[in-house]
């Protein structure tokens, strides 16, 4: 083994505090040092060239660079090593600048001593480093879009345009979603069907889109970029038009069917038959039989449709068809449901005939010019805003964002068709935030629609006339309004569709506090989810109008296209692995992994699915055989680091090992350094992926090697990539604490903290306090350590 050690002056940032010559002399005392050099700027081209030349000429096989934080130039030096033909993972960066020369700027002597210890850690760890290979996963072009509302339609069309193979799955018999049910759209008053149907037809005609309607996703498994999907296609009981053109949509069956039930598409204001097409503009335009209501399925008493069909297209024996396929990315566009208006019993939706929801009003307005219209509206109509949203009583504090404008639209459309109708909108706040919304609101006011600022407290029905007496305060005039209306429209809010739940569970997505699907970052990753390879579009992520939905759908499609453009997906080789000969097949690791990355192979040995493993190290403490380890942060490497950090500890000295998670605590210590803020120099920072990586065994070893206390720093749960770490770490700490107590060692000696990047002062206080506390304890004697060893 030939180790090259490079000490960087960092243009004086390091060398003006740390006496690098002293450190260099110390390095010379270590074994297997091939070369040790001091350079003014290791990250410069000249510095990198130095490493490359040394590797080639001197045959170095391990590299230690003592310079700035690894977050700045670890990658730089890895690339340099690759250029010289060395594996980039046999590198250790010693953080001289942020963790030593800057915080100890005013104590150069102490800094120099600490620097010796730090470089010692690097050298001892690098001895155990071994080449790692980057893991590459191949990706193809397959995308699943769940839900064929306007969000799913837009995303699918964009993806198909980019040449992706799209599978679009819709649980209803027709695509189009909620938009297809709307009369017109605000604020432009385009007819919803007119602007949606061409897109629906495009979906059906596009050869890159495989469309499954009447189909539900039952199971998804797999990982980041390889999802195995299982679905069930519910039977329509009609033989499709394949080669033989069986069903010709001649309507004869529909005409003869004796069963009439409320039409869901029309929100129940009209009826349909038990054999039907969902709507005139349904895509695919195919008949289906509603098994729940069909007399043939009920008691075999009717066979009329099958008898009359000239094409023999009816097949009552069709069964659920199972579907299995694999995709690389998923877009979840499962949309919304209206909040149940019965959650507000004071409005009497289930009791009063003339109380309708906004969605029912869409259909009523859409058919108002028919003669006679399926439903009359009367002369006096009231809209009640914020039904189900902005209401703590039913647990929905959020604003549904579209109700102000859809009520304004429905009121305007009604006023245009029936100018004599007196229309009132009872509101708490009007939110006309979108493009053209305020102007649209003003136009409605111009038309004579009266906006009353007050929420309706209750509705009572006159049982003779079915008219509704509504009570509200006009909070602007402070008058109590108690007036009779012919029709009351509840502007019901939006909530995540119930059918989303199985998909959320199956894909392991999270919900935000409003109950909608949680995005990876509200501002910067708004269409990514917390699961890699799964994106979200439309109202499944939160209430939004059509323009926002379409924009978000295109955004999620663009994210998928960007992800799949790489063809291969590279993951860091810092992954867990199982030593097969040690594994006894006890399966304890299986539940320990939050990502379900462990599987048993045919020899009943645990194996890690590397595409699922995120390298947190939480599994390691679960294995009673010590068969699991983590590449790059192995047990032996961490023990070597700890041992090196404590090797030169004087008898009267106190040292605290801080296991700092890479994402937050280590970087926070960097920022503290950048600000030149002092904290106790007896703290030795060792980088780990997460707190849960530190097993009880490692903690015990840390004491045996001579540490006086252990600090473990984790990322705050809220922003952590490993949110499970805290719970697991605290459990591990509990195990060790008990053993410490038994061995007679006094005081609390393991300290767990959660950090985020802004907690500079907290970091310093906790660090200083820990050392102060530990100094009050008695020294850990050899006898007690021996006892601890024994207990362990």
């Amino acid at each position: 083994m030939k180790i090259g050690v490079y000490l960087c002056e960092c243009g004086g940032n390091i060398s003006k505090v740390i006496d690098l010559d002293t450190v260099n002399k110390f390095v010379g005392t270590k074994d297997s040092i091939g070369v040790a050099r001091i350079h003014s700027n290791m990250c410069s081209g000249a510095g990198q060239k130095l490493i490359i030349d040394d590797i080639k000429k001197l045959g170095l096989d391990k590299i230690v660079v003592a310079a700035c934080s690894p977050q700045f130039h670890e990658k730089t030096f890895r690339v340099a090593m690759e250029k010289a033909g060395l594996n980039p993972y046999v590198l250790e960066i010693v953080n001289f600048r942020e963790h030593c020369s800057w915080p100890l700027k005013k104590q150069p002597k102490i800094a120099t001593e600490k620097a010796k210890n730090l470089v010692n850690i690097g050298i001892e760890k690098v001895r155990l480093d071994y080449p790692l290979e980057k893991k590459m996963f191949k990706m193809e072009n397959r995308v699943l879009v769940i839900g064929a509302g306007i969000a799913g339609i837009q995303a699918s069309l964009d993806l198909a345009d980019a040449g992706k193979d799209v599978t679009l799955v819709e649980k209803e018999a027709s695509i189009g979603g909620k938009m297809a049910l709307l009369s017109k759209t605000f604020p432009t008053e385009d007819c919803a069907a007119c602007i949606l149907s061409p897109k629906m037809a495009d979906v059906e005609a596009n050869p890159k889109i495989k469309l499954y309607t009447n189909t539900t996703i039952t199971k998804t498994s797999g990982h980041r970029l390889h999802f195995d999907i299982e679905a069930e296609i519910n039977p329509r009981f009609i033989i499709p038009k394949i080669d033989m053109d069986q069903c010709l949509s001649c309507k004869k069956c529909e005409e003869i069917c004796p069963v009439s039930v409320p039409n869901e598409w029309e929100q129940g204001i009209m009826d349909r038959k038990a054999i039907y097409t969902p709507a005139a503009l349904a895509i695919p335009f195919k008949y289906l039989i509603d098994k729940e209501n069909c007399l043939h399925f009920k008691d075999d008493s009717c066979n009329k449709c099958a008898e009359i069909c000239p094409q023999n297209a009816i097949d009552f024996t069709q069964k659920v068809e199972k579907l299995k396929f694999t995709v690389d990315n998923v877009i979840v566009a499962t949309g919304f449901d209206l909040i149940d208006p019965n959650l507000k019993p004071v409005f009497g939706y289930d009791r009063y005939k003339n109380v309708v929801t906004g969605m029912e009003m869409e259909r009523i307005v859409d058919h108002i010019n028919e003669n006679p219209p399926p439903r009359e509206v009367g002369n006096k109509v009231a809209f009640i805003q914020c039904v189900g949203s902005r209401d703590k009583q039913i647990g929905n504090e959020y604003c549904s964002r579209v109700c102000c404008m859809y009520a304004t639209k429905l009121a305007s459309l009604l006023k245009m068709e029936r100018p004599e109708t007196d229309i009132y909108i009872f509101y708490t706040d009007i939110r006309a935030y979108g493009k053209g919304f305020e102007e649209y609101y003003k136009r409605a006011q111009e038309m004579g629609i009266k906006y009353i600022r007050g929420k309706v407290a209750e509705i009572n029905e006159d049982p003779d006339t079915n008219n509704l007496v509504l009570k509200a305060e006009d909070t602007l005039s402070r008058k109590i309004i108690e007036t009779e209306f012919d029709l009351v429209v509840l502007s019901t809010g939006l909530q995540l569709s119930k059918s989303s739940d199985t998909i959320i569970d199956s894909l392991k997505l999270s919900k935000s506090s409003d109950g909608f699907i949680k995005e990876a970052h509200l501002k910067y990753r708004p269409v990514d989810t917390l699961i890699e390879g799964v994106f979200v579009a439309g109202t499944a992520q939160g209430p939004k109008d059509i323009p926002d939905t379409v924009a978000q759908a295109s955004a999620s499609a663009a994210r998928v296209i960007g992800t799949l453009a790489k063809e291969e997906f590279e993951i860091d080789p810092i992954l867990a692995f199982v030593e097969e000969n040690k594994c006894d097949g006890c399966k304890k690791c299986l539940p320990s992994c939050p990502k379900n990355a462990f599987q048993m192979n045919d020899k009943n040995k645990a194996v890690v699915d590397e595409a699922l493993c995120v390298g947190c190290g939480a599994c390691i403490s679960s294995c009673p055989q010590d068969a699991i380890d983590l590449r790059g942060y192995s047990n032996s490497q961490i023990i070597a680091s700890v041992e090196a950090a404590l090797e030169f500890k004087e008898k009267d000295e106190y040292r605290v090992i801080l296991f700092a998670d890479d994402a937050a605590t280590y970087r926070l210590a960097d920022i503290v350094g950048v600000r030149k803020m002092f904290y106790d120099y007896n703290i030795y920072i060792i980088r780990v992926p997460s707190g849960s990586r530190i097993t009880p065994k490692l903690m015990t070893h840390t004491f045996i090697k001579g540490a006086d206390a252990i600090m473990i720093g984790d990322n705050v749960k809220k922003s952590s990539a490993f949110p499970w770490s805290k719970k697991m770490t605290l459990e591990n700490i509990e195990v060790v604490n008990e053993k410490i107590k038994k061995s007679g060692i006094d005081g609390e000696r393991i300290f767990y903290s959660e950090f985020s990047s802004g907690m500079l002062q907290e970091f310093i206080t906790i660090a200083n306090e820990t050392v102060k506390t530990v100094k009050k304890y008695s020294k850990i004697t050899k006898e007690k350590l021996n006892k601890l060893k024994e207990i362990f």
């Binding site: 004071v346 009583q393 007050g454 929420k455």
Partner: protein, 134 residues
């Protein structure tokens, strides 16, 4: 003519006092008026419950002269309907407390005619004393 209202230390202190006594976050009131419209004794009130909330938020001590807080029967219809889960009756109770601490009894038993007193249910008298007298 609308009265001019000046927000000063006095008004802010009044708001703080009522907030503290009621334990309610009065600034949370959205002024939706649900409380007023559902109140069973609204017809007897001179200002509506939501108006009372508004005046307290402003720190307008004129609210102390209104009948509303005395008419509140603590039936809690407003409380169970408030979309912000505020307890309006607690604010009315806080206002009553402030008034009662000035030791001005709303109910003077001597002034009630004997005949009427004989007719009144005892429980009503007890309740009225509890609510209106310190």
């Amino acid at each position: 003519m609308p009265k001019k209202f000046i927000i000063d230390k006095k008004s802010v202190d009044f708001f703080k006092k009522i907030s503290e006594l009621s334990g309610e976050i009065i600034t949370l009131c959205d002024q939706c008026g649900t409380c007023s419209a559902g109140c069973p004794v609204i017809e007897e009130m001179d200002i509506t419950p939501s108006q009372m909330m508004r005046m307290v938020m402003l720190g307008d001590e004129d609210v102390m002269e209104s009948k509303t807080m005395w008419l509140c029967a603590t039936c809690n219809t407003c409380t169970v309907r408030c979309p912000r889960e505020l307890d309006v009756s607690k604010v009315a109770e806080a206002l009553r407390q402030v008034k009662l601490r000035q030791s001005m009894d709303k109910l003077n038993i001597d002034k009630i005619p004997k005949e009427e007193l004989a007719e009144l249910p005892q429980i009503a008298l007890v309740a009225a004393f509890r609510k209106l007298t310190s």
